[in-house]
């Protein structure tokens, strides 16, 4: 094909959505690109030292951690999602939303709580002493313990995404499978698991990104990961440039993985089964024995990921309440809620714009690059903070120079902070939105367009009502994440604003973990509100359609 025709077609396909996509993509990727470009600046002088002594170990640990966590979150997330959406058993309704709750416990707080449970004169030791064992202890502060703790706080990502898939799933395939003489459980592995792969992967991507950038829990448990390397080169070796360089490498790896994943399921995109009009509201009622078994099985992750850590936090809160409690907590809770709420709205809107602009745009290259927008989730918050600070300060300084403002305007207000949050958490909103929008039959939007409605109106009249569930999951996941977020908040928040996570951190970093319990509990409580709300809507929606 000659160049002129290519150019003509490019000109034809370059519609206003392409331009708008570029704009949105520009806004959300400036910080990421700022970091990515640092690859060309090269690392600092300690680079060879890091490569010689640290990198190999750190990479190995990160990979092991990723593998362990993937395994655990898939086992717990997918199986529980499958059980609650396919079977009926005692406590199912309660378990359905209880399974989301572990997400509300910040990973590093969960790490502290478990260290407390398993540690010196902790819950476990007290319990075993009563049973007559002396000095029984399990060392949880190692890579296995870390994998366990991270998985327990993150598996709900996989649970939520696969449950959304299972609830919308048509029965006919399953019935076909059972007719072929394959038991319910075998069908799960032979049929449902492969079909649900895109949904599972969507959740898993989030889990892995978070696992890769975790610092608090890993450093407390003494496990050195790639992110430890980033922090070490900055905080210990005093070379922020090396830290950014390492982050840029991490970015490339994650982007590569995302593309790889997209590429390897390129043939599968059409095979995602259309949900027939007949949804199964009718869950199978298994035998009594199995019912109890299922209840117990689904309770395990709730127990491990929520109840045990919360009990530990309650014990600590009881010890420290009188000292820590302060009337300020009410206003801090309110502030945290408000900030998280506004930012979640903004983030979800950005995710929607990114998703739909890229769909309406007809240039393939732009479509692929739109994935760049969600990379922020893979980078540690502190690095994102640098990525946000550099461009926003440049703009601020430019404004001052041109006498438009007299002092830092973006960086002294919530604007820069919210911007940072959006960049960081776009993936959390994007993934559930993407998977729920993929489930809508393409012919619906096609027919709307043929009937004379443009992209925008089609979106509001057809797609928006149909992806409501995904929209809400997106909103709540982001909301919870923002409530928990720390490093970005610390460095970018305006002086007079305070959040619960900051409060918890102030105590925890001072090794007053038990005092951090109160703000942590408040985070969990605040996160509960929308989580319960989400569940109600999820259920309502499933029975509606």
């Amino acid at each position: 094909m000659n160049l002129k025709i290519k150019f003509l077609k490019f000109k034809r396909d370059l519609n206003r959505w392409s331009l708008l996509l570029l704009l949105i993509l520009g806004i959300v990727t400036i910080p990421i690109l700022t970091i990515g470009l640092k690859l060309f600046d090269g690392p600092g002088e300690s680079w060879t030292h890091i490569v010689d002594y640290l990198l190999y170990d750190y990479l190995e640990n990160s990979i092991l951690l990723a593998v362990f966590c993937s395994f655990i979150v898939i086992v717990f997330g997918v199986s529980t999602a499958w059980l609650v959406s396919r079977f009926d058993f005692p406590m199912r309704k309660q378990l359905e939303w209880l399974l989301i709750l572990p997400l509300s416990v910040p990973a590093y707080i969960m790490a502290y709580a478990y260290a407390g449970v398993f540690g010196y004169s902790g819950l476990l030791q007290n319990l075993t002493e009563k049973l007559g064992f002396d000095n029984f202890s399990i060392d949880i502060m190692n890579i296995y313990g870390l994998s366990f703790v991270l998985s327990m706080s993150l598996f709900p990502y996989v649970y939520v995404s696969s449950r959304t898939f299972f609830l919308a799933q048509a029965t006919n395939l399953l019935e076909a499978s059972r007719m072929l003489g394959i038991s319910e459980f075998k069908s799960f592995f032979k049929l449902i698991f492969p079909l649900a792969r895109p949904a599972i992967v969507a959740g898993l991507v989030l889990v892995l990104m978070e696992v890769l950038n975790d610092y608090g829990a890993a450093s407390y448990y003494g496990v050195n990961t790639f992110t430890t390397g980033i922090f070490r080169s900055w905080f210990s070796l005093g070379e922020p440039e090396t830290a950014i360089y390492l982050s840029a490498i991490l970015l490339m790896i994650v982007f590569g993985l995302i593309l790889l994943e997209k590429w390897q399921r390129r043939h599968l995109s059409f095979s995602s089964p259309k949900s027939s009009k007949k949804n199964y509201n009718s869950r199978i009622k298994p035998r009594k024995k199995n019912q109890i078994l299922f209840s117990i099985f689904c309770s395990i992750p709730v127990l491990l990921g929520f109840i045990i850590p919360v009990i530990q936090l309650l014990i600590w809160t009881k010890q420290t309440f009188s000292r820590v409690w302060n009337i300020e907590f009410i206003s801090i809770t309110l502030e945290s809620f408000v900030i998280a709420f506004i930012t979640s709205c903004v983030t979800v809107i950005f995710a929607l714009l990114l998703l739909f602009f890229s769909r309406w745009n007809k240039i393939d290259l732009l479509k692929t690059s739109s994935k760049l927008g969600i990379l922020g989730y893979a980078i540690p918050g502190v690095i994102i903070a640098i990525g946000v600070l550099i461009p926003s300060l440049t703009l601020d300084k430019w404004l001052i120079e041109h006498k438009i403002t007299s002092k830092l305007i973006l960086n002294a207000t919530l604007i820069a902070l919210i911007y940072g949050y959006v960049v960081r958490f776009l993936a959390v909103a994007y993934q559930p939105l993407e998977s729920s929008s993929l489930k809508i039959d393409r012919s619906l939007s096609d027919s709307s367009k043929v009937l004379g409605e443009g992209n925008f109106k089609t979106f509001f009249r057809i797609e928006f009502p149909l992806i409501r569930t995904g929209l809400l999951s997106a909103f709540i996941l982001v909301f919870i994440d923002i409530l928990k977020e720390l490093p970005l908040t610390l460095i970018m928040k305006p002086y007079n604003v305070n959040t619960l996570a900051v409060k918890a951190f102030e105590y925890a970093s001072d090794e007053m973990v038990s005092s951090a319990a109160l703000p942590s509990l408040l985070i969990i409580l605040t996160a509960l509100i929308p989580a319960i709300f989400l569940n109600k809507l999820l259920l309502k929606n499933a029975s509606d359609s």
Partner: protein, 342 residues
Amino acid sequence: MKRIVYLLLVSVLVLSCKTEEKKDEKNELTVYTHRHYESDQELFKEFEEESGIQLNIVNASADELIQKMSLEGAESPADVLITVDAGRLYRAKSKDLLQSFSSEMIDSIVPSHLRDEDKQWVSLTKRARVIAYAKDRVDSTQLSTYENLTSEDWDDKILVRSSSNIYNQSLLASIIANKGNEFAENWAQGVVENMARDPKGNDRDQVKAVANGEGDLAIVNTYYIGKLLNSSDKDEVDAGNSVSIFFPNQNTTGTHVNVSGIGVAKHASNKENAIQFIEFLLEEKAQNIFAGSNYEYPVNPNVEPADILKSWGDFKEDELSLNELGKNNKEAVIIFDKVGWK
């Protein structure tokens, strides 16, 4: 949907009220601080009441704050920088983020080895890195120096946290400054060989591990012991009571001390307020709070340390110039990595 929109509107309203509070720029002071102790907040409040100066607190790790300051450049709102170790102040100074300031009051109160030679920063409090040993298993006569920790007696007995911790880095930096690179490397190697387990947890956890019998010696900062003993958790108190404190190197260089310190930002717009603030922090009242509720050693010689600290007795401190800790910090980290101190 409607409810969400209402909620959003209310939220925006709440926030705009928050940011509307107008401030008199002349009468404020922006503090970038790595310290996030409860007692500090009390102090800040008290300063605001006493002076009528409004404090804007930015709380993050010193390295992040330093990075933020250097990105902000001349527009930086920061007036003072507070860190929890001398090395970071040295780092800020060498990045040209601080400026000299002088105050007779400060010069007269703070011993010279706790001040920067160029008057760019000054210490607020001291902490000593000591050995906490199991009362029931170790006799204090067996202990002598940091150097002695590499002896075979302590094989599988030493508990210490990760080398990413600044206090460990400063300790090794002081050994480098006192005894040279090679010695420091051998020392670190020896400690690693004697470790009871891979480094993990924080200082409190090391003490708890001693209480739990996982090892006999823990290298910790003094104020954590103070806090353990005053914890509202009975088990923490028990853990604190199971160990005794030993000040190493009393007959040689003295026990390693690190400081929490404060410097005036290069682009401070309220330098006078900054000096007033620093003086306030060094006065007896503030120093008493540092000492009393946070178990740090005050730098003001007129102020006594907390009772618990006093009960451990006086000790000779290493009077090595604190800037040396900063200068050797990187080398220390490199050695840690070489010898595999995680």
